[in-house]
Each structure stands twice: as structure tokens, then as C-alpha cells.
Symmetry: C2
Subunit: 488 residues, 2 copies
Amino acid sequence: MDSESFRRDGHQLIDWIADYLAHPERYAVLAQVEPGQVKGSLPAEPPERPEPFESLLEDVEKIIAPGLTHWNHPGFFAYFGITGSGPGILGELLSSAFNVNAMLWRTSPAATELEELVLDWLRQLLGLPPEFMGIINDSASVSSLCAIAVAREALGLRIREEGLAGRPDLPRLRLYTSEQAHSSIEKAAIVLGLGQAGVTKVAVDDEFRLRSDALEAAIKEDLKTGWRPFCVVATVGTTSTTSVDPVPEVADVCQRYKLWLHVDAAYAGAAAILPEKRWSLAGCERADSIVMNPHKWLFVPLDCSAFYCRHPGVMKQAFSLVPEYLRTPEEDRVRNFMDYGIQLGRRFRALKLWMVMRAFGSEGLRQHLRAHIALAESFWGWIEASSDFELLAPVPFSVVCFRHRPCGLPDNGETEAYLNRLNERLLESVNGTGEVFLSHTELNGKFTLRMAIGNLSTTEAHVRRAWDLLRQSAERLDAELRPAALEA
Amino acid sequence: MDSESFRRDGHQLIDWIADYLAHPERYAVLAQVEPGQVKGSLPAEPPERPEPFESLLEDVEKIIAPGLTHWNHPGFFAYFGITGSGPGILGELLSSAFNVNAMLWRTSPAATELEELVLDWLRQLLGLPPEFMGIINDSASVSSLCAIAVAREALGLRIREEGLAGRPDLPRLRLYTSEQAHSSIEKAAIVLGLGQAGVTKVAVDDEFRLRSDALEAAIKEDLKTGWRPFCVVATVGTTSTTSVDPVPEVADVCQRYKLWLHVDAAYAGAAAILPEKRWSLAGCERADSIVMNPHKWLFVPLDCSAFYCRHPGVMKQAFSLVPEYLRTPEEDRVRNFMDYGIQLGRRFRALKLWMVMRAFGSEGLRQHLRAHIALAESFWGWIEASSDFELLAPVPFSVVCFRHRPCGLPDNGETEAYLNRLNERLLESVNGTGEVFLSHTELNGKFTLRMAIGNLSTTEAHVRRAWDLLRQSAERLDAELRPAALEA
């Protein structure tokens, strides 16, 4: 493809995308395909001869797009709602055109320096202190893995040099996080050789927040039995309910026992750009490291995970390896980001974040976050006002946890079992319409529906439509499924 | 940005990129900026108010582009030459517009199935057997880390559950790779808790290939002294010289001692699409896992690392964690890629690879690889014919390792010390022209220049220009720097 073909095909694709972004609801939000259907529609062998771009786009139109779940759809309410906004998409386009590797300053000075700059911008918006050094990773999974790896290195037990296995001089190492923490924390512990047994999942209070008294009790018990506590991961915005752990209290515990404090604020960290939500990062100024994902609720396309750490020296100690072929004359005067993480190859991700922050301006970002929070509050209000639905967790941000609970049912195990079946069917039913897509979790044994708002194209009409679909399906399903024993 | 603004700004950006791709040599290939210069040219605080796209593009034009090292420049000969071709760039654009997360089949069926399909296409082109299951990671660093993590899990020592630390029942674990292996292997060992001591760097032969006799000797010695050997990482295309380890012999050793065989073919694996280079993956059909990066020499933009493993069950055992909020009704009937790696968040990377494979066709890919190899052979021929330059390693693919060695110098330590200084200065000098960018390595104590060819826009004229610059600078520098003691 020469540059003139690129120009022609590029214009065609931009038009296709502009049309798509104008009407993502032409497609079902949750893909209505069977397993194997997409693969079965495409040739099983690679083409020998070149194909024109038009053929590719035709297959995108006919096979790929209908086979996708549309995260851009205004009715996407599952997991965490996200939007890769226009400026972010164009930033990604430009990054892939430049195709630089930001492993060393030398291999792309502007990519390195823009990463430093834009993460400092973001740090300012979040109200974090300037001691935090920022780096962009692909995902919070990797950011938290790095955090725990650095915490492990900070123990000073020669783990980088000698490893963990077969060392009689090493104690068993323990990490603490809440029962509601994201699975990536446990996965990081597995990868790092701490094992699942190396993770204590601390109990939460009735609002799904880590209990700092239970944390301290677990640490004390471990110290008595020969474990070596080394790290606590607190969450600001848990995945199920967006609950916020009491970071100031957790920081006190960490200080008392000299433990590394990592904060997983992947989703809800974004809210701290709002003065009225700044409380959510309270205590985080005392953390050793924190992760927050602009690709979640700051309108940057996947992937962009901002990782901050106040101990860049320990990071480098944990990760830096410089073979001769990566030595550069200026290495003592610049930041070479490869020294601060797992991956050598690093895309120019700062560009899209920078474009989003400039195209929206801080006030634009704040305005959209407030709009999402307001929509979640409306939805929450309707739940509260309904006698057939109930809220299952507080709503600090833009995710509402709830379930259908027809009024008049007795409080007993049979009811609970029925409600779980009923809500599972309700989820299936509304998702089957193709108009909305919600996901679920489990809270205290209750099958819980999650309404997550985070898409720029979502308006009150879409939230209202979800509510209508939920009520209609709920009424129909309850009539159809309620066991005789529970009949009024 | 509404969809009409996206259309307008998108068209403008496509034109900008088309012009850039038509003339990347408008810029110096190696950025001619001082540390801090880019950062210092931009505001230290985020903008409060939205800015128009034109302002962003103006800063890209004036500050970002001149501050980049241009991997698209036809004179880019450093590290491994790469090209994010037009179809790949447009594929990335489309992925970021869709902005789906390919963590679960349900969250994007077409992304999951296209990933399965296109990695099977690539597997066919590489001549690997159908038992290999493919997954796309961001980087070879992560692919090799995953491989070693799975090898560790395959030991059956309850490492996932119990970890490595403080377990008197565990032996020390050892991984073997060559002295010429990529630094990512050692980094993976550090991250996984094996430590640097858990990596034995096996000696190489005079063509920089792992010596399988030395490998076996190291394993035997370890077995005597209580280490537990568990994994060998062979390299097809080492970073310094692109040497190819004798994988069939290594596979024999692995079979004999029941060790996991992982092959790092990140760069040179691509060559196996050529029948005449198929030998480079000989023996890899017996590997347990293999990584090959389409973002290196298959014209896909960063990032796209293809990881193949013949034990998907063990991969899942090593990595799968499914909290309630990620459960889906179809999970037993589909592939959920989050179960096979570290990251939960996964971009739709298959799209760009699919677009490249279709737009080029297999014959197009082969033709470009052959052209690069032919250019490297020309360059190598000029070195061979010159009395003032010498080749320092065989050239199996498109990277030439060489140095300036003025004729008539005695063979002694003083000469060697001088040649190292001279070649370092030579590298600096040609890179300072902005016309070419080469990188270096060290081979047997010799400062070695690397000429790596892999850019689609590179022609014989560019390679010839590099050669002219090298010769001119070399003559000048030798005249200027040669110490009196070495004068003829």
C-alpha cells in the first residue's frame, strides 16, 4: 500500500467509522452470534494473493461488526462502561502511524517525554503529590503485577538475584487485599510466585469496604505464625460494587507494620478529577503505588493504564536489565521506560491520552463524569422508588448494583433461591433484546445485576429504556417462573 | 467530538499521515533533540478548556514529530527494522474505534474468533503443527514470561496454590538459555521468582548458537547439586546477531530430561514463511511453546506478539481465575482468552494482523522479506569486498554485524581497544547525520555495528547511502583518532 492508496483507503475507513460512531445502535449491543459463527464465515487458510481494501471492509461490514459486542453502543451497561472517544481514536491512529518503540528515550524522545508530561498532568488532576513518578502500562493487571513485584523487591531479600524457590532463609510472604478485590491481584500473586496461599482476602464491612481491623488482625496472626507480611492492596472502586476501601486507615496499618501500600483505583480513580469526589483518593497520597486506567472512565481507547510509584529507584532495581545492545550514551541523563517494567516493547500510548486531555480540557472531562454520575443517580432513584426492585450496594460513582425483588415475598431461603434464578433469567432476557447489555456479580450470595454507566453516547433516554425493559421483563418472568410455594 | 467532527478531523489526520508516510525522510531518522527539549516545549499543566484538533495537530507537526526517532524512515537500520504498514495502521484505527475488550468471548465474539483464526493462518504459513494453540500478547517479553510461567506450573509442584517462598519441599528451579538470549528471558525469571541465579546462560559456539553439549553438561551438573532443571529457552534469531540455536538438538536434550522447550523466534520466526528459510524453525514442531512477533518483520504495527503453546490445558491451569462478575453462560463452549494469560484487558489486535495478511497476501509478505534479505546480502557483500571492514557474524536473515577495521593494523590488545573506540565514534558519527540510524552490540569483546534491514521503504539506494556514510566517516575518524603507536 503506497501512501496514495493509504490516503484513499484511509478516507474510506474514516467515513465508515464516522457512520458507525454516529449509529452504533444499528447493531445489537451484545453480539447475537453463536460460538464458531464468525470463524466459520471466514476462509480457514490465508490468502495467497493480495486482496483490495474494499474486500476487507466488506467483510468487516458483513461479518466482523455484526459479530462484535458493541462497547460504543449507548445501551452498553456491562462491566465498566467505557468510551474510546474521537480524539483518543485519532491519537491511536497517529501512534500506530509513527510506530515508534518507547523502550528507550533514544528510540523516541518525544514518546518518552510526552509520557512523563501527560502522566504528570493526570497526576495534577487527580490531586496526587509530585513525588509520584508515572508510567503507562497496557492494563491494570500489569500495573498491579508491577506494584507487587516492586514491593517484593523492596523487602531487600535478594529476590531479584536469588529468587524465591528452595531458599530456606526466606519466610513465606503474604499480601493482603479485600474479598472484593479484583482477580488481577490474585493472578499477580500467582505469577510472582507468592501463590494463592500468599494472598489473604480480608473481610469487608456491610458496604463492601475492606475492614482495617480485620486487616490488622490478619497481619498480627501471620506474624505470630511465621509469615512475612509485605504488601496491602486497597481498592478505590471495586469491580462488583465500586466500593472504596478506607485508604487512610489502611495506610495507618501499613505504616505501623512497614508494608507496601498499593492502591487499585483502575476505574474510580478518574472520579478524583471532580472536587466533590476527591474524597475517593483520600489517603492515596500516602500510598507507595497506585494504578488508574484512563481507558476506563477517561475516554481513552484501550489500552492505557497509568501507574504511579513514589520509589522509582526500587522500580529500577526490580526491573532494569540493560544488555549491551540497549545501551545508549545518554542513559544516565534520561528516563528509559524499559527500566521500569516488564515489557521491553512499548507503544506510544501517551499520545492518545494527551489528545483526549487537550480535546476535552479538564472541564470537559469533569462535565462528562458528572453527567454519568447523574444518570446513575436517576437510575438509583427509580430503584429506590420501586417496590419490586432493591438496591444491593451504595452507589458512590456510576455503577448501580440491584436486583428484582417482587414485593410480598417472604424472607427465607426459598425466596433467595428463587430470586437468584429470577434475576439470572432477567439478565438473560434484557440482554437478549440487543438494546442493552448489563452484567452481574454476586453479593452475599445474591445474584446481583450491575448497571454501569460510562459511555459518552448514553443519555437519560437510554437509561430509561433499560429501566423499562427491566421492569417489563421482570413482571413477565415473575409471572412465569414463581413457584407455587411462594405465591401470595 | 461528535461524529461529524470526527469525520472532518479524521480526514485531516489521514492526509497528514499519508504525507508523512510518503516522506518520512523529511525528518532526521534519529531525533536530533536534547533531553528535556520536547517536555520543555509543552505546557506543564493540563488545559482547563477544550482545544481544537488543529492545535493538537500543529503541536504534533512542530514539537512531537521532530522529537521522534522515525522508525518509518528508510534509513532506520537499528535494533530490528520494522514497518507498521498501511493496512496494519488502518486495522489499528478500526480496532480502536470498535474499542472492544477481547477478555471473554462474550465481550467480543468476533475479536476472539478472529484471533483464533488469524493465528491459525499464521501457524500454517510458519509450518507449525496444528496442535499449537495461538494467542496474541502485547510483546515477546510477556509471551516468554507466560511460557516460563506455564513451564513452572507444568512441574506439578502446586506453585499456583502455594507459591515458591518459604517452602522447604521445593528445590531451586533452573532455566537454561544461551549467553546470546534476549534480556526478556532473564527479566521473566526475575518476575517469576526464579531469580537471576535461576537462569543458566549456556555458552555459544563461534557462530553465537547455543551449544547443546554445554547445555546438557549444565543440566547434569545441576542435577548432581540438587537444582531442578525445568525449562530451556532456545532462540531463533538472537538480538545481537540473529543466530539460530540448534533447536533439534536442544529438543533432544529437553526430551531426555523432560524439560519444557520454549522458542523465542520473535524476530526471525517470520522468515519461516519463506520455503528457503523454513530451516530456521526446524525442531520447533517439538517445542512446547514458541513466540513470534508479527510487529517485528511482518508489517503489523506495534504491538502484536503471537504466542503458540501445545498445552492449552496447562496454560489455563497456570492463569485462569474466574470471579463471579466474569462468569458467562457459554464459558464451557468457547475460548475466553483471559484464561490464557496475565492481562484481563485485551485489545482487538487480531484485526490488524488479519488486514495485513489479506492486503499483502502470503506472496506479498514473502516478496518483501526476500527483498530485505537481498539488501542485507548486498551490504554483506560490500563488507566482504572491503579491506577496511569486517563481518563479525554470519548473516542468516537481514541483519549484518560488522565493524570498521582499517587494514594493516597489528593483531593485539592495543588495536582492539582502538577499534572499539573507533567504531563507537563511527556509530555516533553516522547516526549524527540524521540520514541513517544503526545500533550496536558487543561480540567477543568487540564493539559491533549492526545494520538491520526491515523497513518497507528501504531501497538499495538507502543501503548504499549508509555504506557510503560509513566509509567516509570511517576514513576521516581513523585519520583523526589513530594513536601514534598504531601508525603504519
